[in-house]
């Protein structure tokens, strides 16, 4: 049996004693959990007292009223966020508005319990949180033992796979029900769209395979003298049909010696992703310049495009899994949202670095730096 510490911060004594009474004999136990949880409740009547208890008693869960006599609940939440405390916060408030909800969620609140609540509502919220705490504990434990469990990754992945399936499903139904009438050519557009979505899905699967290789790579690397210029040329050739289709010219410049110790397949993944992005997010008639420079102990790959560019805010999110920049300029562009995340992971595994500079409507430049002899591996 484990005990989770719950702190109730509310200025109404009735709410505090109610929570204590309801949770005193409450237990959460699931077949999939290795242990059962019970609860120890402490109380605070103001935000200030709450913060004091947070410091001394280290609660796992806080039930937080927003409307308090001194500092507000949202300020307590900000305090927890600033201190990066590992506490799950549930807002209890009858004054909840969407503004507060959005603000509190972005500050890390996990859930809301509207006041007044029934014992059952409180219990079911606490039950959900306990499951979350348990999963968090399990994940940390698995990560510590070297096993990576990526719940979030998998759930996003299933969403990314489900969406195109639903779309194609929808189009097939439209065709079966002859929703656009009897003329076959009227269906061309939706057939093209369906093909585009299967293409996107196939790309996602290929990217996933790349990602899996990158993430599970342990000593299976084929490290050899790799001429980066040669790899770049191969990648450009692979992309040629695509660049012709988009009317984008690719230039390659490699002065000096560009041979490094690396796995050529992995280097190709890096070039493929950077160059295909530079074509994809370019303008018709645009250019891509790929330059490989020899530095003292590394080589620097610079891929510059004359495309749509990005804002600082968009650049900040760029290298994460499944992040795709969504705006009016990218609305017809499909992608898995994994490409740059794969590139980043690969580059980092060679103790290299990746940077991006960009200007909206002018274009972007990606700069990858990889040591000639990586000490890692």
């Amino acid at each position: 049996m484990s005990t989770l510490k719950i702190l109730v911060v509310d200025d109404e004594p009735g709410i505090r004693s109610g929570v204590s009474r309801i949770l005193r004999s409450f237990r959460v136990d699931y077949p999939f959990m290795e242990e059962a949880f019970d609860f120890e409740v402490s109380e605070a009547s103001t935000g200030e007292a709450g913060i004091e208890t947070i410091e001394t008693n280290k609660p796992d869960i806080i039930l937080l009223d927003n409307k308090l006599p001194g500092i507000q609940g949202i300020e307590v939440l900000e305090y927890i966020k600033k201190k990066q405390l590992n506490i799950i916060v549930v807002m209890i408030t009858s004054y909840a508005s969407l503004e507060l909800a959005v603000k509190a969620t972005s500050d890390g609140a996990y859930d809301f319990i509207p006041k007044p609540f029934t014992p059952q509502e409180l219990k079911s919220s606490i039950e959900n949180i306990t499951k979350k705490v348990f999963l968090k504990k399990m994940t940390t434990k698995l990560q510590e033992t070297g096993k990576q469990v990526r719940f979030q990754f998998l759930s996003v992945l299933s969403h990314e796979l489900k969406t195109p399936l639903n779309t194609i499903d929808g189009y097939l139904r439209m065709i079966r029900e002859r929703q656009l009438g009897g003329k076959l050519e009227d269906y061309d557009e939706i057939i093209d769209r369906s093909l585009e979505r299967t293409r996107g899905m196939r790309q996602l699967i290929l990217d996933l395979l790349d990602l899996t290789k990158v993430e599970t790579n342990t000593g299976k690397r084929n490290i050899t003298d790799t001429d980066m210029c040669l790899i770049a040329r191969t990648a450009i050739e692979t992309m040629q049909p695509y660049s012709i289709q988009r009317d984008v010219t690719i230039k390659l410049e490699c002065p000096g010696n560009t041979v490094i110790k690396a796995d050529p397949n992995e280097m190709e993944i890096i070039f493929n992703n950077l160059i295909s992005n530079a074509i994809k997010y370019n303008k018709e008639g645009g250019t891509v310049t790929c330059r490989i420079n020899e530095m003292e102990s590394s080589v620097e790959i610079t891929v510059t495009d004359s495309g749509i560019g990005m804002t600082q805010q968009e650049m900040d999110k760029l290298f994460q899994d499944f992040v795709r920049i969504k705006n009016e300029k990218t609305r017809n562009i499909t992608g898995s949202g994994l490409g740059l995340s794969i590139v980043r992971k690969l580059v980092e595994s060679y103790k290299g670095s990746i940077k991006v500079t960009s200007e909206p409507d002018k274009g972007s430049t990606f700069i990858v730096n990889i040591p000639k002899e990586s000490i890692c591996l």
């Binding site: 909840a96 959005v102 509207p114 759930s155 009016e328």
Partner: protein, 134 residues
């Protein structure tokens, strides 16, 4: 005189979903106006008042749908809003909007799964439209 068709605003960043939804709704006999982002939708509602809106939850940002919903209700309190989402199960968002307490802070009138069957969708829309008319 022909009765005026209800105008439905659909907002989603997936152009295929928008297209399919548009066809479905037009088959039901509605007029459709569409937007691909929260921003575009905000521009539309500046000038146009729809009879009902169907919003995606995650667009430019994770909470675009909620914010749009909030802004719409502020401008047109009587226009019913459906939030259509495919992520309910995955993100742990599981509010019951029929619950009086939740209704206070989530301003949507109804949450629907994106894969909903056409006849059920029609039913929900009719229900909301007749409620807002009365």
């Amino acid at each position: 005189m022909k009765p005026v068709k209800p105008l439905i605003l659909i907002v989603d960043d997936d152009m295929d979903y928008l297209y399919q939804m548009k066809i479905r709704l037009e088959k039901f006999g509605f007029d459709v106006i569409q937007a691909e982002s929260q921003k575009e939708a905000e521009e539309i509602i500046e000038k146009t008042k729809p009879s009902l809106a169907i919003l995606d939850l995650m667009m430019e940002n994770e909470d675009s749908g909620f914010i749009l919903c909030y802004k719409m209700k502020k401008k047109y309190a009587d226009v019913p809003i459906i939030i259509a989402t495919a992520v309910a199960a995955e993100t742990g968002i599981s509010f019951d909007v029929n619950d009086e307490n939740n209704r206070k802070w989530i301003k949507a009138d109804c949450f629907l799964e994106k894969g909903i069957r056409s006849d059920l969708l029609k039913e929900e829309i009719d229900k909301l439209l007749s409620k807002s008319a009365s």
